[in-house]
Symmetry: C2
Subunit: 189 residues, 2 copies
Amino acid sequence: MEILRQRILNEGRCLDGGILKVDSFVNHQLDPELMMKIGEEFGQRFAGLNINKIITVEASGIAPALMTGLMMKLPVIFAKKKHPSSMTSGFYQTEVKSFTKQQFYPLIISKEYLKFGENILFIDDFLAHGNAAKGIINLCAQAGASIAGLGFMIEKRFQQGGIWLRDKGYHVESLAIIDSLNDNEITFH
Amino acid sequence: MEILRQRILNEGRCLDGGILKVDSFVNHQLDPELMMKIGEEFGQRFAGLNINKIITVEASGIAPALMTGLMMKLPVIFAKKKHPSSMTSGFYQTEVKSFTKQQFYPLIISKEYLKFGENILFIDDFLAHGNAAKGIINLCAQAGASIAGLGFMIEKRFQQGGIWLRDKGYHVESLAIIDSLNDNEITFH
């Protein structure tokens, strides 16, 4: 997606350890018009797959997932990273390692909103090692729901998560795929 | 806003301690079309105020703020509740008490995205005691930014935050105002 690649080139900053900082339009400040175009793009790429629901992870996944849900006329669930005191009717839970923060956190979805037989589209901001994606695949397996596809704004291909997912046969769509981040030089695939 | 009040009546559940659970369309599952209508409504109510930027708080504020930003053609900042390791260029920080979780958390905005002289619209899902709103007012004061208005999807009037804000002269718009939550009976203002 050319406008996304341009934004990454213009505003992205490479930090140590393979981190791409895009706080100006993804992880702290949001550009609503860009997010709408991202939702349109995901809507086209995942059209016709009989998807029932979109799942994302709080907080940075919410904007692209919401816009994809608007375009595809589907509800959006955001998985929580903490156990909410008001989640009283049972939930699916798994443990995920954060690449950026180098710590483990839980991923939680209420049993009220993820059901047996549902066909799920997972949308997130980044695909690095694929840990959040694997966590959502785990939650869907617990519920007996299937994965129709996984869509990411930015895939860091050198961190292998996308390779793992495609090898397993999942339908993965990444709008900007980065081969390397070296000395503040961003190389797209 | 009648469609929002209807959703609250149909799907909201009253929990102990004055908590209204609206996980099916605000705090866990999202209805993108409803959020777009909410964005349109805030856009109308805050039109013509020369607003530069919308601020919200992760995670449940992101959806209504993003849709308001889309309608008003404004960038959206989500304040963070944890210090991100990649926020390297300075930030404003304050401490806020969560009503639902009964614990303190930090509210953080990078100095890159909140500047002296900017005119800010704060959008959030709930107004209860007003602690998040007071936190954002504090961050804006630190930056020398002004508050053009504060918009909330749901105000729990009996918890006094809205009364405090209006007494201080702030322009507050709440799309559904609840006077009481008793024995699972929701009474609107």
